[in-house]
């Protein structure tokens, strides 16, 4: 059952920010994650601030420099189906199409998706773990088959649940954050916080700040992108492992690009090691095999998730091969 809270639906971003600076205030966009968290008592809320009357936060459009601006309230379905995104940022459209189920994609927003809370079952259950302010991570010694193989900092081994964020990282998107002190544009890679920095938060958002839009830079000629997700069920299921790629190919070689893993770490995990192997190289089978090997080189699997190592190797190999073929 939901706790008792005040519900407000402000008409401007400034008003929303005012509300959000009060104690126990929570942003409500599509509510698909928020309401579940409140119902399961993952955290409380004294005030729920709906941002749904903020029409400026809707819509997807091209920016003057031929980038794309996605309003925080754009639904995942809109991202999935948008023509420009499908044409230029295919990997993002693919990521969006892999999220949850059609109903959840219709209701869920991109802002909510990148701000969603972890899915660790201890966290969502009645366990008072470190991330909730307790002093123990139950997953390290418990059921950790869906937990991370990178970046736990030995504190918390969640994986970031979003299928969209990895693609945004691959495209080097920026997140516009609005707060009392005005706006700032945060590269999405810097938007996420590792447990070692602060185990109780997932993003850099401060109290009173909201995400208003996401900006994709103009696409570089020759970019090929994709998103691959492995999961147990075809719909309505989070990634066991995933990889978002955005590579710029010129003259048969990888000129630049990013490789980002999902289901791997507490944040969308940029695999610099893979990038290093492939950049400047032709994507032949030798390079691809080496890239896949190095991807998991420094992985630190837990007792029950070492299967993720061959899994990541396999999908990186598969996806790079597909990109190479075109």
């Amino acid at each position: 059952m939901l706790p008792n809270f005040k519900y407000v639906r402000p008409g401007s971003v400034e008003e929303a920010i005012d509300h959000l600076t009060s104690e126990g205030a929570r942003v409500h966009a599509g509510g698909t994650d928020l309401l579940g968290c409140l119902r399961d008592n993952v955290f409380g809320a004294l005030k729920v601030v709906s941002i749904n009357a903020l029409d400026d936060l809707r819509g997807i459009r091209q920016t003057p420099d031929r980038g794309v601006r996605i309003g925080a309230l754009a639904t995942i379905t809109q991202v999935e189906n948008h023509e420009l995104i499908n044409e230029r940022y295919k990997g993002l459209a693919m990521g969006a199409s892999e999220v949850a189920s059609p109903q959840l994609r219709n209701q869920g927003t991109i802002g909510g998706n990148i701000c969603q809370k972890p899915r660790c079952w201890y966290y969502r259950g009645e366990f008072h773990c470190i991330r909730k302010g307790g002093n123990l991570c139950y997953a390290f010694g418990g059921e950790n088959q869906f937990h991370c193989i990178f970046g736990s900092d030995k504190k918390c081994c969640i994986v970031h649940p979003s299928d969209i964020a990895p693609a945004l990282v691959a495209f080097d998107a920026r997140v516009r954050v609005s707060g009392h002190k005005g706006d700032r544009l945060v590269p999405i890679e810097k938007f996420y916080v590792l447990p070692g920095e602060d185990v109780e938060r997932e993003t850099v958002l401060e109290a009173g700040e909201i995400v208003t839009e996401i900006i994709l830079p103009p696409i570089i000629e020759g970019t090929r992108s994709s998103y691959r997700k492995v999961r147990a069920r075809r719909s309505w299921d989070f990634a066991l492992a995933g990889v978002a790629l955005a590579l710029v190919l010129k003259g048969g070689k990888v000129e630049s690009g990013r490789v980002v893993l999902s289901g791997a770490a507490p944040v969308p995990w940029r695999s610099h090691t893979v990038e290093k192997v492939i950049i400047g190289q032709k994507l032949d089978s030798k390079t691809i095999t080496r890239a896949a090997e190095t991807a998991v080189h420094n992985a630190e699997p837990l007792a029950k998730n070492s299967y993720k190592i061959p899994l990541f190797k396999a999908i990186i190999e598969e996806e790079l091969t597909k990109i190479a073929i075109g």
């Binding site: 008792n4 079952w121 418990g142 492995v230 147990a232 075809r234 309505w236 989070f238 396999a314």
Partner: protein, 785 residues
């Protein structure tokens, strides 16, 4: 709502047009319209004025002595009506089907996390939640038992100190022929250990009900149940009431699958209603509570040895089964007994040593679940059959055909199979199907990084209660005062469609269309005792009783009409929709006229049917006999799964599925197919993705975002073929179809994965993770089935 006259309405059908109800016709199920349009009133839909919400404080710990319950702050919450504990129960405070070992409210210790400690009554849900959170249980933690083999070891913590057999709920032993000694006479032996997981029923409608105490002392409980008549006795005994003062009303459950075979909310609701000051009480578990407190398919550990002669003739079977029954019997002993009876599959095996233990643990409660123990052992025996075929270099269909039981043969427990048996027809139909004939082509056309395999499995499923517990039904049919035919269903329709089939049976006998028919769903005050909706028995047992009642009423109607028309006898009369016709003259009398010539007592016909039981004494212990061994009636099936495995991710995807089943004659092809399809979908979830994560008795997967049941996009195209062998004892030749289809998917998929990869995964579900691990440990190229 009128106090004395409960609004358990007679359902008639809001079809646009009335439909003929012939046996064998593919009539859409008569509940479909109401369900799809949201009109059907489920137990969860009962509210009413001045309602009290009842909720349960759960233990939250797997094993602990309850030293005290402090609810002093809880009762101060505004809107709280009462807080009740075991001290408020005047009856036995125990429930259970065979062994009554489960407290309604814990009085001594918690034995699993879902145990009920206190019952709170409140004016609204908000106060209820607040009060539940404020109740403090003083627990002294005890070491727990979380694994069935461990539970049997010396020194294991005891779940029930007063049980003479320690943590052993039931041990079953069956020896046929020369038992284990026969292994010496085998040319080949295969050996394996299988582990199958617990499975959640995952019905749409979680456990729910509504109750009230009338001024005349009658306790009325409307609930989502498979067992209204048994519930009445259980509630009365646990609460110390006269059973005739308890009325159970059972609307259509929104799914049950065995999870509502026995008491869930009933006794708690009854207790609440006794203390609510005459106000109606409602209880509705949320999904987490349903996961934590509801029953599960038993997790099983199964050791198998199967031996054969060089020509493939099965000769010897040795099986040891460990079933984790959780803290309470529920139906654990019966489940184990069915597992033992089906441990050798539908084959002739002359020498067998079968041993099984149902073990108490502090895990969630093991209980009834579609397939009922047969699902687990079928997974094992059908995989060792494939391993044997491989070792013998024999075609797996041929090995099965060679050993298939035929009518008159003995099953692995030595029981002579007297019922119709279409196993051979099922296997032959499968072997002639394109999916089998063209399996090699299909496998060799796998795309890059994919491997394909085709696996088969055969199965049988006993139905009914076995030799001791009487398996009976009492049907009642009425010619209503306005000339309609009203069927009183004594057996719950939890979604299988048997209520519709009942109308079809009565309608076809009485010559009526759906527009002339009415239905009364189970209600201990209005319908007659007819046993549980379980064990693939519903239409077999109730249908036989119904034929008797409908025939009696038919004779009465025809006779009275013949008398009125001064015809030479009822043979000149025929029932047609809405009327009786005098065939020689064509004159007709509408039923609503004719009924005026009936006395009230004549308008109702009843008939009792008791299912036949095995006459042969196969020498098992009386205890095992009591738990249901052996059965007399069996359904059979063979199925095929075409599976594609992603070499890179380990993910197995079922591309096509074929099920050939012998469940006797088909009364309604649509409903039959729905049962087969549903069973397969549930079986595929069990095979591939459904994995209840339980850590020291605590379930981590308490919702559908972590407990992965298949969705529409996960279920492949299914071909379902019925081999319609007439069963002489069945109504119109029918046997049970409710469970058989659930048993095949896991072994068929496991065999297909082994066929694709050359590696067998012995633990279910066959998740991508396990398949990859098996790959990693066996090497990709090596073949070592």
């Amino acid at each position: 709502m009128n106090d004395q006259n409960f609004d358990n309405k007679n359902t008639s059908f809001s079809y646009l047009e009335s439909r003929p109800l012939h046996i064998g016709a593919s009539v859409p199920r008569l509940d479909a319209y109401e369900k799809v349009t949201g009109k059907e009133k489920y137990a969860a839909d009962y509210y009413g004025e001045n309602l009290v919400w009842a909720g349960v404080k759960r233990a939250g710990v797997p094993h602990a002595v309850l030293r005290g319950i402090d609810f002093s702050s809880a009762v101060k919450v505004p809107g709280i009506v009462r807080v009740l504990t075991h001290e408020d129960i005047t009856g036995s405070n125990r429930q259970g089907v065979i062994r009554k070992d489960q407290p309604v409210l814990v009085n001594d210790k918690a034995r699993h996390c879902g145990d009920a400690i206190a019952l709170v009554l409140a004016d609204n849900k908000e106060s209820l939640k607040e009060a539940l959170d404020l109740i403090v249980c003083d627990f002294e933690p005890l070491p727990g038992v979380f694994d069935s083999e461990q539970g049997l070891r010396n020194g294991a913590a005891l779940v029930h100190e007063d049980n003479a057999d320690g943590n052993r709920l039931l041990k079953g032993e069956i020896k046929t022929g020369s038992g284990s000694d026969a292994y010496k006479e085998c040319d080949v032996i295969v050996e394996a250990c299988f582990q199958t997981q617990s499975q959640e029923h995952a019905y749409l409608e979680t456990e729910a009900g509504w109750a009230r105490l009338l001024a005349n002392g009658k306790l009325e409980i409307v609930c989502s149940t498979q067992t209204p008549f048994r519930d009445r006795m259980e509630v009365a005994e646990a609460l110390g009431l006269d059973p005739t003062l308890v009325r159970i009303i059972a609307p259509y459950p929104g799914g049950a699958f065995g999870g509502k075979d026995g008491v869930t909310v009933q006794t708690l609701l009854g207790l609440a209603a006794l203390h609510s000051g005459g106000r109606p009480v409602k209880m509705w578990w949320n999904r987490e509570e349903s996961f934590v407190s509801g029953t599960k398919r038993h997790a099983a550990l199964m050791y198998y040895q199967l031996g054969a002669k060089a020509d493939g003739t099965l000769h010897f079977l040795d099986v040891r089964l460990y079933f984790d029954t959780g803290p309470y019997d529920h139906l654990g002993g019966v489940v184990l007994t069915l597992a033992l009876e089906h441990a050798g599959g539908p084959y002739r095996i002359p020498n067998a040593q079968l041993t099984g233990w149902a073990v108490y643990t502090n895990n969630p409660i093991g209980g009834a679940f579609r397939g009922f123990g047969v699902t687990q052992v079928t997974a094992a025996v059908e995989q060792v059959m494939d391993m044997l075929a491989q070792k013998l270099g024999m075609d797996p269909v041929k090995l099965r055909l060679k050993n298939a039981t035929k009518r008159g043969d003995r099953s692995c427990v030595g029981k002579t199979m007297v019922c119709s048996n279409g196993l051979v027809e099922c296997l032959e139909t499968l072997s002639k199907h394109d999916l089998w004939k063209q399996a090699d082509d299909w496998k060799s056309s796998a795309g890059p990084f994919k491997r394909r395999g085709v696996g088969i499995a055969a199965a049988m499923q006993g139905s009914g209660y076995g030799p001791v517990v009487p398996d009976y039904a009492n049907a009642k049919v009425e010619l209503t005062s306005d000339g309609k035919i009203r069927v009183y269903c004594g057996v719950v329709d939890m979604g299988q469609g048997n209520a519709s089939t009942n109308l079809q049976i009565a309608g076809s006998i009485l010559g009526q269309e759906s527009g002339q028919m009415e239905l009364v769903l189970p209600d201990t005050d209005r319908t007659l005792p007819s046993g549980s909706a379980s064990a693939s028995r519903c239409t077999y047992t109730f249908g036989n009783a119904l034929i008797g009642a409908a025939e009696t009423l038919k004779q009465r109607i025809l006779q009275r009409a013949a008398d009125l028309f001064m015809a030479s006898g009822p043979h000149e009369m025929a029932l047609i929709p809405g009327s009786v016709r005098h065939l020689p003259t064509g004159r007709e009398v509408p039923l609503f006229r004719l009924v005026k010539f009936f006395q009230d007592s004549e308008r109702i016909a009843v008939h009792h049917f008791r299912a036949p039981v095995a006459a042969d004494n196969i020498g098992v212990s009386p205890e095992i006999k009591l738990h249901g061994l052996p059965h007399t009636l069996f359904s059979f099936g063979a199925c095929l799964a075409a599976v594609e495995v992603d070499e890179l991710t380990g993910a197995a995807e079922v591309k096509r599925f074929l099920a050939v089943s012998d469940c006797g004659k088909v009364l309604n092809p649509q409903i039959y197919q729905q049962q087969i399809h549903g069973g397969i979908a549930q079986g595929l979830g069990y095979a591939l993705s459904e994995k209840l994560e339980v850590e020291k008795g605590r379930i981590l997967t308490t919702g559908f975002s972590t407990y992965i049941i298949p969705t529409a996009s996960d279920v492949p195209e299914i071909d379902s073929i019925a081999v319609e062998i007439y069963e002489p004892t069945g109504p119109f030749g029918l046997k049970g179809v409710g469970e058989i289809a659930t048993n095949g998917p896991l072994p068929a998929v496991a065999n297909a994965v082994a066929d694709a990869l050359g590696i067998r995964v012995f633990e279910s579900p066959l998740t991508a993770e396990r398949i990859l691990e098996a790959f990693a440990s066996n090497g990709r190229q090596e073949s070592s089935i």
